[in-house]
């Protein structure tokens, strides 16, 4: 698939959409297409229904956290699309949220590809991206009362174990903090 041609096809079919080709520097050469939030659903519908592309199979959905990019950072969702009819792919499509705090809404592709259902729930659970139009957006891996989004880069996990002696300074540091905390709490608790 020629990504330039796909881009121009989409622009012809979905007027007003803003697309950007994200260049991939690795030898894999899998460049991707960045969609804007407003037209993403229409673009995805085109990708699925267009007889030439016929990307009827959405294989992989995943979130990525970019806390340090562009000021306050953003969350990104990546889709890998294939065609079972034409046997081509992957077409990598990505969307970005406005920031990482409140404006974390993105359109859901579950109405188009059901295979996204659990995967989008997972991205919601672990990254905190809210998918508009998802039929059943709940936490999937963690329990319902859990408040954090553990796959984010700034997640701090609970201090819940006694650290063993190890060569890693990061672990030694946490062990020191842990034993200080235990001393404050009166030895064992």
């Amino acid at each position: 698939m020629n990504l330039e041609k796909v881009k121009s096809d989409i622009e012809a079919a979905v007027p007003g959409c803003r697309l950007q080709i994200v260049v991939n520097g690795s030898p894999s050469g899998q460049h991707s297409l960045l969609l804007d939030r407003e037209h993403a659903f229409a673009v995805a519908k085109f990708l699925r229904d267009d007889p030439e592309l016929c990307l009827d199979y959405c294989s992989n959905v995943t979130g990525v956290d970019w806390p340090d990019t562009e000021g306050s950072g953003y969350l990104e969702v990546v889709y890998h699309l294939y065609s079972t009819v034409k046997k081509h792919g992957p077409l990598t499509v990505r969307m970005r949220t406005e920031d990482r705090k409140d404006a974390v809404n993105l359109p859901s592709f579950t109405p188009l590809w059901r295979s996204a259902e659990f995967q989008e729930r997972e991205v919601f659970d672990l990254y905190g991206v809210v998918f508009d139009g998802h039929p059943d957006l709940r936490r999937i891996l963690m329990w319902d009362g859990f408040e954090d989004h553990p796959m984010r880069k700034d997640y701090v996990d609970p201090d819940d174990y006694e650290y063993e002696p190890t060569a890693h300074d990061a672990v030694l540091k946490r062990a020191l903090e842990h034993s200080n905390r235990d001393e404050k709490a009166g030895g064992c608790q």
Binding site: P150, D169, S179
Partner: protein
């Protein structure tokens, strides 16, 4: 009873024993485990019951799906925080006398997944464990060894006296605290009656820039 006397009697065709011995002999040769697989180790547990390793030789092939009929819980695999309350609840539902084998590194300490935010760092934090088997996963032979260790332990239990096990004491409970799902972690994060180890090692101040994980 004196062993020498017993042997002498048996040579004369007299079989002498104690109630305690018969009781323990019966118990140790018909341990019914709970059908309870958590992760990778469960496959090795199944392999142990299959033709090549044949756990039936040790009287423990009757895996019961219901905790009400089981004597032994083999914690075979990683206990996650989401699963921990169910594990404790199942243990509480088992009738006394009941035993626990912690199979594999994960059940003992969290194993390779110890750093995980959703991984319980060892099932000992919530329920008492009788036999630990290290390994990731332990081989079927190791599980059989754990069974034999447990059999020895059962055999050595007394019916009377101060050393009698928990299920023969009126003042001890066989139920343990079931943790609740909290906002960030399980509450409580451990059962302090069972797990009260503090870190005694005094870690040195980290040296800047050296041995950071991920830097080579």
């Amino acid at each position: 009873m004196d062993q020498k006397l017993k042997i002498e009697l048996s040579q004369q065709g007299i079989f002498a024993t104690t109630l305690e011995e018969v009781y323990n002999w019966g118990r140790k040769n018909s341990v019914w485990p709970l059908t309870f697989g958590l992760a990778c180790c469960a496959i090795e547990m199944i392999a142990t019951t299959m033709a090549r390793y044949d756990l039936a030789r040790f009287g423990a092939e009757v895996f019961r799906p219901s905790p009400r009929q089981a004597d032994l819980m083999i914690v075979a695999g990683t206990v996650t925080k989401k699963m921990a309350p169910q594990v404790v609840r199942l243990y509480n539902q088992m009738p006394e006398p009941k035993y626990v084998i912690a199979m594999g590194a994960c059940a003992i300490s969290g194993g390779p997944f110890k750093q995980g935010y959703n991984v319980l760092k060892g099932i000992d934090r919530y329920i008492p464990v009788d036999v630990h088997i290290p390994g990731c996963p332990p081989r079927p032979e190791a599980l059989i060894d754990a069974f034999m260790t447990l059999q020895k332990k059962i055999d050595a239990q007394h019916l009377t006296g101060d050393l009698r096990p928990r299920h023969l004491r009126a003042d001890t409970s066989s139920e343990f605290v079931v943790p609740q799902y909290g906002a960030h972690d399980l509450e409580p994060a451990k059962n302090p009656k069972l797990w009260n180890i503090t870190l005694k090692a005094t870690p040195t101040e980290p040296r800047a820039g050296e041995n950071e994980p991920g830097k080579s």
